[in-house]
């Protein structure tokens, strides 16, 4: 059995000087991202041990508020908190007072009354995480707010890329699909640009946000544009966000024919990523999803350690957006 170092008192989480949140990648500095990735790496090493639980956040409470369905994000946040010995509580919109018409403010105040250290929120409306941050005293983690942001997804994607390529700077990532409705794309573009990676967006013209180039990326409506990339990041065609009769694309069949990522459209050695859940046969060919070059399961594993790093960082490290004095190695 590997030895577990008992943490000294001065390494236990101190009372945070001010409330810090993870609401948007736009709030992070490059130092913040590098510190989070380093922390995630050290957690990955600790998870290789037989005894996977760390005492780091013992006595802390993490509340998960999920107003949208989620498998990987909610499960990985819950497991991340448990791996760090925090107490967790999960509230879903259905089956709670939300069903009775309780407002987000009142639900947040109610849960806030238990003095949770962290509230993780997933909500269908843009600005929900910012709103909860304004009305409670907890540290808030945005686990997806409408089409706006999904910062922990972007961080786990960076972690996956860093582990695969050993670097982020200069990597070329093509993001393919429904960029318009994708919080994953928005967070990822910002995160990749922060670390000096190159981004090309490939989508049918109506699914590319107007003026999105201002985020520092190239755009194309030709699937051939993925050819130059090191990584092809495939977005889900979000059927539930495609308004009836909105006519972004004539049909999913036509989308799949022109923009579906198939083996024929890939170069040997190109890596494939997808945030899940996949629509096999629509945005991604099943042969691509199951190929050796797909990093999709790696992403899921990265989700756990990245979310552990986020929880740990919020409760222990200096303010987000402020230059870190040193990288923190734990365990």
């Amino acid at each position: 059995m590997g030895d577990i170092r008992v943490m000294r008192d001065d390494l236990l989480p101190p009372a945070p000087p001010e409330r810090r949140h993870l609401l948007s990648i736009a709030d992070l500095s490059r130092d913040d991202v590098q510190r989070l990735l380093a922390t995630a790496r050290s957690f990955a090493r600790s998870l290789e041990r037989e005894m996977k639980k760390l005492p780091t956040l013992r006595g802390r409470t993490v509340v998960n508020m999920f107003y949208e369905s989620s498998t990987r994000t909610s499960s990985s946040f819950e497991l991340a908190a448990k791996r760090l010995s925090a107490d967790t509580m999960s509230i879903k919109a259905s089956g709670s007072s939300v069903d009775k018409g309780e407002s987000l403010k009142d639900t947040a105040l109610t849960l806030g009354a238990y003095d949770p250290d962290v509230i993780v929120i997933r909500h269908p409306q843009i600005g929900a995480a910012q709103f909860v941050a304004r009305v409670t005293r907890a540290h808030v983690v945005n686990a997806g707010d409408g089409k706006h942001q999904h910062p922990t997804q972007a961080l786990l994607d960076l972690y996956t890329l860093q582990e695969e390529f050993g670097r982020l700077e200069g990597l070329h990532v093509a993001i393919v699909g429904d960029v318009l409705h994708s919080r994953v794309a928005r967070s990822l573009i910002q995160a990749l640009r922060l670390l000096d990676a190159t981004v090309t967006l490939v989508a049918p013209p109506p699914l590319l946000p107007r003026d999105v180039e201002a985020m520092g990326c190239e755009t194309s409506s030709e699937i051939e544009a993925i050819g130059a990339a090191d990584v092809v990041y495939v977005l889900r065609m979000q059927r539930e966000r495609m308004q009836e009769g909105a006519n972004y694309v004539p049909s999913l069949r036509e989308y799949a024919a022109r923009w579906g990522v198939t083996p024929e459209r890939l170069r040997p050695g190109q890596k494939i990523m997808h945030p899940g859940p996949m629509n096999r046969g629509v945005e991604i060919d099943p042969r691509v999803a199951d190929a050796a070059d797909a990093l999709i399961e790696t992403q899921v594993r990265a989700g756990l350690v990245t979310r552990m790093a986020v929880l740990y960082d919020l409760l222990t490290t200096g303010p987000i957006g402020v230059k870190a004095a040193r990288l923190t190695e734990v365990a």
Binding site: S103, K105, Q125, V135, G146, R210, A214, M215, Q243
Partner: protein, 433 residues
């Protein structure tokens, strides 16, 4: 028609202010004597006699403001605003007259609803208020209201504000038939299939934040349609809350070709851009949305050169709990009556983007002309409609400041310069601060 409580005019001497009436070419340090609510004399060291003396050295006395676009939320949402609270808020903002929009519950689409409002105004309106009536029944965009009857009942004009008249054929009929009323028509220009689900201006900021865009063209396309219809029917038309550069350009072209078109612009569109929405503060959500820097520049140019004649607050009160939600869930609309002058003085006059004289004209006589309200003037024989301004006073806008029943101000927490010290409306002091 304007309605307010009947009260005797006061006897006042306002001493030593810089009297500034751009339309009357007055700009001098003068005393102003008001006898029984009427301006009697402008001169040096006037004898106070039995008049109430108001010391105004260091302050600026201007014609009071007129707001052509206010939502009084009555009937239906008296928790958000009433005729009493809305006109008190207007008085605090330096206004001597306001025009109320008909998108209430029920909609002002019948003489009965209009009559109940004008009656209520006669007992509770602090300053004169005019009521616009709807163009279509229930603002449903299908059937014209009884415009003749509404005109006879005292409507100030017609609009479906809050919604466009979507069908061009119906808009044409409204302009044709509306001619018999002789009243102004005001249009909310929004092409609904282009603005659908839109939360903010479409551009680089919406791309980054993920909001569904409400593109400029959703407005300007409808502005061009309504200007074309007005030109074809040879009827005047007023474009409400112009927000896009392309709309200003369309308005300028139409005016140059002889169309009797007017336009108004809000303080928030003149002061802020879509960059402000990055805060995700629901008090920055309104329809039309805050637009880009080029749009803001075009609006300022348009206001300066007279393509746009009036500042209109589009004062839109909302209950606190309705705005205490994520941005995407919040209703459109912000308040503005009590902050308009300070906002524009701070953001336009102080940085030199527009002169104080032009601003005062666009907030007063320019706005009055749209609905045929007599222009406030500082001259002997005129009814006293005056605002006394402190151009040096600086303050932070706080939620507790407001007379309005709602505090969904886009300026909360902002520091502004310029304060209304006194408002006189039809000869009566209606606000002192």
């Amino acid at each position: 028609m304007l309605y307010s409580t009947a009260a005797p005019g006061e006897n006042l001497i306002i001493r030593g202010a810089r009297v500034l009436d751009p339309s009357g070419n007055v700009d001098a340090l003068l005393d102003v004597r008001i006898d029984g609510g009427t301006i009697a004399e402008l001169g040096a060291r006037l004898d106070p006699n039995a008049h109430r003396l108001i010391q105004a050295e260091g302050l600026t006395l201007a014609p009071a403001f007129v707001d052509p676009h206010v939502h009084l939320r009555t009937p239906g949402r008296e928790d958000e605003e009433t005729i009493a609270s809305g006109t008190q808020a207007a008085a605090a903002g330096g206004y001597c007259a306001i025009l109320a929009m008909p998108n209430t519950d029920p909609v002002v689409d019948s003489a009965a609803v209009l009559g109940s409002l004008s009656e209520a105004a006669e007992t509770e309106a602090e300053i004169p208020v005019g009521f616009l009536a709807a163009i279509t029944k229930g603002q449903g965009g299908a059937e014209l209201t009884g415009m003749g009857e509404l005109a006879d009942a005292g409507a100030a004009g017609f609009t479906d504000d809050g919604r466009p008249v979507t069908a061009p054929g119906l808009m044409r009929r409204a302009l044709q038939y509306g001619a018999v009323t002789g009243l102004p028509f005001a249009v909310h220009c929004e092409e609904p299939t282009l603005s659908r689900e839109g939360q903010m201006h479409e551009g680089a900021v919406s791309a980054e934040l993920g909001f569904t865009g409400y593109p400029s063209v959703a407005e300007s396309l409808m502005v061009e349609r309504d200007l074309s219809l007005a030109a074809y029917e040879r009827r005047p038309i007023h474009v409400l809350h112009v927000s896009a550069r392309e709309s200003v350009e369309a308005l300028a072209r139409a005016r140059a070709s002889g169309v009797r078109a007017t336009g108004e612009v809000t303080p928030h569109h003149l002061c802020f851009t879509d960059e402000a929405v990055r805060s995700l503060d629901p008090n920055l959500k309104m329809n039309p949305p805050l637009r880009g820097a080029a749009d803001r520049a075009a609006l300022i140019d348009g206001l300066r050169d007279g393509t746009i004649q009036a500042v209109a607050t589009d004062h839109a009160p909302h209950a606190r709990h309705e705005k205490e939600v994520p941005f995407e869930a919040a209703p459109f609309g912000v308040t503005g009556l009590e902050t308009s002058f300070a906002a524009l003085y701070t953001h336009l006059v102080e940085p030199g983007l527009i002169s104080l004289e032009t601003l005062l004209q666009r907030m007063s006589s320019g706005a009055a002309a749209i609905y045929g309200v007599p222009a406030p003037r500082i001259a002997a024989g005129e009814p006293a409609n005056l605002v006394l301004l402190d151009l040096a006073a600086s303050r932070r806008i706080e939620e507790s400041d407001f007379k309005s029943r709602s505090a969904n101000s886009w300026l909360l927490g902002e520091r502004v310069t310029g304060k209304v010290r006194l408002t006189v409306a039809v000869g009566r002091v209606v606000y002192e601060g």
